[in-house]
């Protein structure tokens, strides 16, 4: 069961990444190429998932979006972890008012889900794919700060940290050499979870028009377009959703599997 999560999650994630990589060099058709003679075509040998209201090949679009969606998630998680992990580490190390300040800041940032930040950025600077990356990234900062702080405080009470301090190591060296490597597992699990959340958030933002802009496709935009044609081409609303769900399911299973592997004490509790 435990190995099952890891294997299925790994396989689904590998398929997603593989699809994204293949789309760099090859897609069956151009993901932006319109063909008005073959609009809303049903799935066939020529178009395995049919075509959209503009005659674009749905499979090619899904492949191209796997790539752009992963890119958004990658940057959003990098922003969140890149700022959140040092903040959480500093908070755990210094305690006192620094800790209080970082944690109150995290509370505050939690009140701004990616959607609200994206709304503000879009009202300010107009819509665009970068908004989604930034908005999701900002929301990830407090998540990583909290997780890092919690784990680092726990690790800080371990004997090896006390021993390092006793022999006179500096706090920064202790953080980098002793604490960080020991909380790496926790952070890795959080990274996969945030990656999955970022893919959903990006799809949601592009659904309401705050993310990737046409003509470049996005899973959210595809679903929004498909909704206009639910009576004529209901399948159009199915494929992009399946793609999102499988991507997120794969990353979640991978995260669960990694957690079980890295921390056997938690087995069966989730």
């Amino acid at each position: 069961m435990r190995r099952g999560n890891l294997l299925l999650g790994g396989a689904l994630t590998a398929a997603l990444v593989g699809m994204a990589l293949v789309s760099l060099v090859w897609t069956p058709y151009s993901p932006t190429g319109m063909d008005f003679l073959h609009r809303l075509a049903r799935p066939s040998m020529a178009h395995p998932m049919g075509t959209d209201p503009f005659g674009r090949d749905v499979l090619s679009m899904i492949m191209a979006v796997a790539r752009s969606s992963l890119a958004v998630a990658l940057i959003a998680v990098a922003v969140g972890a890149g700022i959140g992990v040092p903040l959480g580490g500093v908070a755990a190390m210094s305690g006192g008012w620094v800790d209080g300040l970082v944690m109150r800041g995290a509370d505050l940032a939690f009140a701004f889900p990616a959607l609200l930040t994206a709304v503000m950025i879009t009202a300010l600077a107009g819509p665009g794919a970068a908004n989604a990356m930034l908005a999701i990234g900002i929301f990830n900062i407090p998540v990583f700060a909290r997780v890092t702080r919690g784990a680092a405080m726990q690790a800080g009470e371990m004997d090896y940290v006390i021993a390092a301090r006793a022999v006179g190591r500096g706090e920064i060296a202790i953080m980098l050499r002793h604490v960080l490597p020991n909380i790496f597992g926790v952070l890795l699990v959080q990274i996969t979870i945030q990656f999955a959340l970022a893919i959903v958030a990006d799809a949601g933002l592009s659904y309401v028009g705050l993310g990737t802009q046409p003509p470049f496709p996005s899973w959210g935009r595809m679903l929004n377009d498909a909704q206009t044609f639910v009576y004529r081409a209901p399948l159009l609303a199915v494929f992009p959703g399946v793609a999102i769900t499988l991507a997120v399911l794969g990353l979640n299973l991978l995260g669960d599997g990694l957690r079980d592997m890295l921390d056997p004490r938690l087995t069966g509790r989730r």
Binding site: R104, D107, L108, F110, A111, F112, P113, A114, L115, L116, V119, M120, T122, A123, L124, A196, V200, A203, G204, Y207, V208, G209, G220, L223, A226, Q227, V230, Y231, P234, A237, V238, P240, G241, I244, T245, L246, V248, L249, N252, L253, G268, R269, R270
Partner: protein, 316 residues
């Protein structure tokens, strides 16, 4: 206990003020000149100056902030530049859609998740557990707006039981309104319920292993009494924490789901306001929604005290 609540209340006010400063800075100061943003690049200088004066932009920044926040506190949200009506009027109509939708979402999700999580924990490792948790694993991965579209496909297109879009209003009694909010609320609730069911299951599993549960069983109490009165009750704290944390996702979800079902709520209003560059409406709505998350998390903090008498001990 009283002092602790007061301290939390002070922290709540500070957080609300900080959030309002952020929103104000982003939407009123960063744009440089909101009037120019509203009128576009082709505006004539005198029109621009007139709008600036009308919006009060010729005053210092801190005066504008204080005027805005003082207005919010008194229920005066300013005047929408596109509709030319008080923003409070726009919000009052739409809140009657968004608030019931969010409330139905929370109620449905809790009503589904807690029995499912408890049932899975009580039959740990058996088929019921595996089936429920398998469905939950899939539910966590389902984006709510796609679930909304699937529900439309199933219950509006294939079976014409519910409207695919629109809101019937509250003028003809409660049922027509609830009926048009049921599918959207379900789309909001199911993915949340999946997460909540998993948390409930692991929390109940933990309390089921506690000594007081063994004691209760040893003194001969029936299994289901022990389960609900001892195990579930003590497992509620992590469950309430997650319900609180989920509120921020629920709020964002409500905004998106309103667009899936074209419901005339706050979520539609916010996107209309962006499209029309009605910045004061965007600013009011963002601060209102962020404020609602802060207040809900404050209430969840207070709920801990009600749920866990140990936290009420003096010296805590």
């Amino acid at each position: 206990m009283g002092r602790l609540v007061l301290r939390r209340l002070a922290a709540l006010l500070a957080t609300l003020l900080a959030a309002s400063v952020i929103v104000f800075l982003v939407l009123s100061v960063l744009p440089g000149d909101p009037a120019a943003l509203i009128l576009g690049t082709s505006a004539r200088p005198d029109t621009l100056a007139a709008l600036r004066h009308q919006m009060g932009l010729d005053r210092p920044v801190w005066v504008r902030y204080l005027a805005w926040i003082w207005g919010l506190a008194r229920g005066d949200f300013g005047v929408s530049t596109t509709y030319d009506v008080p923003v409070v009027e726009l919000i009052r109509q739409r809140v009657m859609v968004s608030l019931p939708l969010a409330a139905m979402g929370i109620v449905l999700s809790t009503a589904i998740a807690i029995p499912a999580g408890v049932a899975a924990a009580a039959r740990r490792g058996r088929a019921v557990d595996a089936a429920l948790m398998g469905v939950a694993q899939l539910g966590v991965a389902l984006p709510n707006f796609w679930l909304g579209i699937l529900l439309i496909l199933a219950f509006s297109v294939a079976l014409p039981w519910f409207p695919a879009s629109g809101f019937a209003g509250w003028d003809h009694g409660i049922w027509p309104g609830v009926h048009s909010l049921l599918l959207p609320a379900l789309a909001l609730a199911l993915p949340q319920a999946a997460i909540l069911a998993r948390v409930t299951r692991s929390a109940v599993l933990e309390t089921l292993g506690a000594d007081y549960v063994r004691t209760a069983l040893a003194k001969g109490l029936r299994g289901w009494v022990v389960l609900w009165r001892h195990a579930v009750r003590n497992a509620l704290i992590p469950v309430v924490t997650i319900i609180g944390l989920q509120f921020s996702f629920l709020m964002a979800g409500t905004v998106i789901i309103e667009n899936v079902f074209t419901l005339p709520g706050l979520g539609r209003l916010i996107f209309q306001a962006i499209a029309q560059r009605d910045l004061i409406v965007v600013q009011d709505l963002v601060v209102l929604l962020a404020g609602s998350v802060i207040v809900v998390n404050f209430l969840v903090d207070l709920a801990y005290f009600a749920l866990d008498p140990r936290l009420q001990a003096p010296g805590q």
